[in-house]
Every structure is written in C-alpha cells, then in structure tokens.
Symmetry: C2
Subunit: 287 residues, 2 copies
C-alpha cells in the first residue's frame, strides 16, 4: 500500500493508473474507520482495479469548532485497517494541502435536498461536504466513488453535485453496516460512553418499529408513524431528538401518505454526541 500525503505526489501515480486504463475506486473518509468504511473498501476492491482511500477531517463541514475538535482521530489504527483491507493507495493530506490560505471557492448544492433534515440543524454542512468532495474527485479522478447510506442525505447531495457539475464519476450508494445490537456503525460512536452506547440503540429500535408499522400493519399515515417514534425516543433519558422524518426518495420531500420509495430518517443527540440513522422502504414492493 502506498501512503501519500501530497497532491503533487499523488497526481503522477493516478496518471499511471489512468494511462493503463485501470479503473479507480475511491472511498473518501474522515478516518476513525469502522466496519461501514471497510464495506465501502470491499465494494471498491470488487468493482475496481485500484482502490484509493482518503482520510481527511474536513474542517469546513463542521458547524462548530468543538465538534470538529472532538471528532475521533485514530490515524495509526486506521492505517493498519486499510492495509489489512487491501487498499492500494492511502491519501492522508493535511489542512495546508487541502485548503490554502487564499482558498475561497465553494460548491453550493442549492435547493430542497440541502435545506431539509441535517441541512436545518447544520446550515453550511453540505456546502463543506460538496466542496471537499469536489476537490477530492479532482485530485483522485476516480471512476467510482463509494458513500455509505448511514449518511444518506450526504450521498444524495454528492450524487446531485456530481450529476449537476458533470463529474466523470459513478457515485455508488452502499448499505448501512450495523453492530450486532442494531446500532449503525459511525465514527462518532467512539465518543459514546458505555451507558450512552446502550441508549443509542433506541434509534435502530425506533426505525424497526416504524418499519413494522408500515410493512406489517400497513400504516400509511406518516404523522402517525413519526408520532410513535417521537414517543419511543422521548422515553430514553438523555436522548434529545433533532428530527424524525419520513421523506420521499431521492428528492427528500416530506410525505404525508407513505407510498413508493421512502426514507425514514432521524437525528438524535445522546449526551454530547449527535447520531443519525435511517432506513429506506419500498412500500409497493412487499405485501
């Protein structure tokens, strides 16, 4: 595995792969790697001849410095994990490499998809995500880039940006990976205490309840389902709901009547840690 820290060193390596017509798969991450990330690497290795992973904690997608500072960082453990996973190139740039002092260009995905769900409580978050992904795509020049559906809105925003700006890359959405107890794998889980980790299961439990109500009981009233979800989470002490929503896919419009493809998405703060989770359902498929 090549470990590369600068754009200048990465460019000729990428150029060689491109000249040989080798397909490049890219997994952009902020490190603190977990089984979710490893599933993205696995998918890339299955579909592409070269897999590049980047580890970079992108400051401009954080809304407050405290959250940025407390974001988990395990560079040594991460390096071992990606080596074991068979990654070809690990790109770990520093801040100076990604944002020069003069840098002031931003990619803005405007419209509904960035103004709902996480876009409400994290105002400039998706601008930061779109900008850094745009930069990384220009640096790595992959054929395919892999995003986990735990951050479903992020994946949708990135896919929209790539489509709107004609990036020559295929954005691949990969399913959420969960711990045995149902908790969605997330780097932020590292910030949970043991007690909080137990409480955090409520997100998945609530989503499973909603799925049961929609699929088995054929409940179609979105307000009724989210109402029950609110009630379940509210019973957990120290859990503060940011949002619980049922939206259409891929346009993320709030739905009243549940039909076709929907996503049930939620953000809950457990202690100091904001967690998100979701499930997607195709209501016409089953039953």
């Amino acid at each position: 595995m090549q470990i590369i820290k600068t754009i200048k060193e990465l460019r000729p390596v990428i150029h060689e792969y491109r000249l040989k017509n080798k397909s490049i798969g890219f997994v952009p991450t902020m490190g603190a790697l977990h089984p979710g990330h490893l599933s993205l690497i696995k998918a890339s290795r299955e579909e592409c001849e070269c897999t590049v992973i980047s580890i970079y904690v992108n400051p401009i997608q954080f809304n407050d410095k405290e959250d940025f500072d407390s974001y988990p960082r395990n560079f040594n453990a991460d390096t071992q994990k990606v080596r074991d996973a068979g990654v070809d190139i690990l790109f770990i740039p520093d801040d100076k490499e990604i944002y020069s002092k003069e840098s002031s260009t931003f990619v803005e995905v405007s419209g509904h998809v960035t103004n709902i769900l996480c876009g409400i409580s994290r105002p400039s978050h998706f601008r930061g995500v779109a900008t850094v992904v745009c930069k990384l795509l220009n640096i790595v020049q992959p054929d395919k880039a892999y995003f986990g559906m735990k951050d479903a809105q992020q994946a949708i925003v990135v896919a929209k940006m790539v489509n709107d700006l004609n990036f020559p890359v295929d954005i691949r959405f990969m399913p959420i990976v969960r711990e045995k107890n149902g908790l969605a794998c997330s780097s932020r889980n590292e910030n949970l205490t043991d007690k909080e980790r137990k409480k955090a299961i409520v997100l998945n439990q609530t989503l499973c309840h909603a799925e049961k109500r929609i699929i088995e009981d054929e409940e179609r009233d979105a307000m009724k389902v989210t109402g029950e979800m609110y009630e379940m989470v509210s019973k957990t002490k120290g859990a503060e709901i940011d949002y619980i929503s049922i939206v259409s896919l891929p346009d993320l419009k709030d739905v009243k009547e549940i039909k076709d493809q929907v996503m049930i998405a939620m953000a809950v703060v457990i202690g100091e840690t904001r967690l998100i989770d979701n499930i997607t359902l195709n209501v016409n498929e089953k039953k």
Copy 2:
C-alpha cells in the same frame, strides 16, 4: 473535425485521447468567433496534441435576458472558422445538455476578485462563469484551457477556481488581440453600428494615454491617471462609463500608488453595448 453535440458522445472520444496519453487543449467560447478566439486555438494547437473548442452561450452568466438574447450567434460561420483553424473537436451542446431541469449546483468564487470591476455591475456573472467552466472542464477533461486577457477578471477568477478546487488543468492566459484601430476583439463588437464602432476606439486610446502617462511621464498617482481617463471618455458622446480602475495583479486590489504589476481596466457602454478593455503594465520593468 468532429462535431459533437452531446456529453455522452464526447466522453468516449476524450477517453480515447487520454488513454493514448495525447494532451488535450480546450478553448471554451460563447461563439461569434473573432481573431481573439483564433489566437487561443492557435496556442492550443501549438501546445497540445488535440484541440477541443466549445461553443455555448451560457445563460446563467448573463444578468438580464435582453443581453442574453442579443448576444451574437453565428454558428455556421463559426463552424467554418474552427474547421479552417484546425480544431479537432467542436463541442456544441444545447441548453438541455448543459443544464437539466433539476440542476441547482453552483460554483461560487467568493472574496475580493469577484466583488470588484465587472463583479459590481454584473452581480451573479462570475458565479455563472465559474459554474459553466467547472462543468466544461469535467466534460472535456483538458490538460490546458485557454482564456483571453480581454476578459482578464474572468481568466483570474477561473484560474482561482481551478486552483482552489484542484482541477487537474493548466489555465493559460493569452494576450488581447486588437483590430488595426486598437479596438479589442470581442463578440459584442458585432452589435455596434459603424458610428459606435468608431466611438469604441476611445477605450484603447484612453488606455494608451494611461500607459504613456505611467511609463513615459512616470506618473504614479492612480487617481490622477484614472481622472484623465474619465475626462477623455466623457468627451465621447454616447459613451457611458461603468468603471475605470487601476488594480494590482493578480489580486485586483485598487491601488493608490502605481507600482509593480498593475492592470488598468475599464468598462464603457457605447450605445446599447457594454465593452471592456484593459492593459497590464509592469512598472518596475521599463525605464
């Protein structure tokens, strides 16, 4: 010469060139081609193995519909010109090809360089330019892209965007091409009447006066020089000044004392047509 109208058709052609490691030069234009454009093609042909020119009148860089509607369009004459000039690929997409109905992602070069000179009278102009250039770079994937210095601020904004977003392309600034009488070549000149065309010479004459005052007379007071320029243009009936400025390069800051690299830039409306022109001087170079 290949004439290509869709992104889908262009991609495999570009891919072939890239696989063969052939360098691609790109000249993005809005058509109504003149000797300035032809000089960009010439430079590309000298430096690159394949030259791609695009002709697309980009609606989102116009501030009003009237200006967009009256922008000159000569597709048949243009096609003949680029064929004669030895272009390899002419890309002429239509609006549907470039902006889908759902498209809502914009590239915003924020900060001083977009908030001065033409950025004042044309508020969202550079956002439109940055967005379409970003899209075209992703479609054409050139090694070098050529911009004329008549639109110096545009070239500077594009170069900043490319640098800030890490596009793997070299932006080449090419000198202004002028008609015999000094008028800077511009597609908009086509909209001038014969009478207006004579009046339009005042831009170049005024810039030449400024150059003489700075280089020969060693005048270093920017206000004094621009004051004289204002006076010269004001004597031309039907000429309305938008701005006359002396700014530093490449950061476009207003200067009081003329030194080092400066650009003297002006925008003047002649009749219904807004014209821009500039000269750059290295004050320490001569004398």
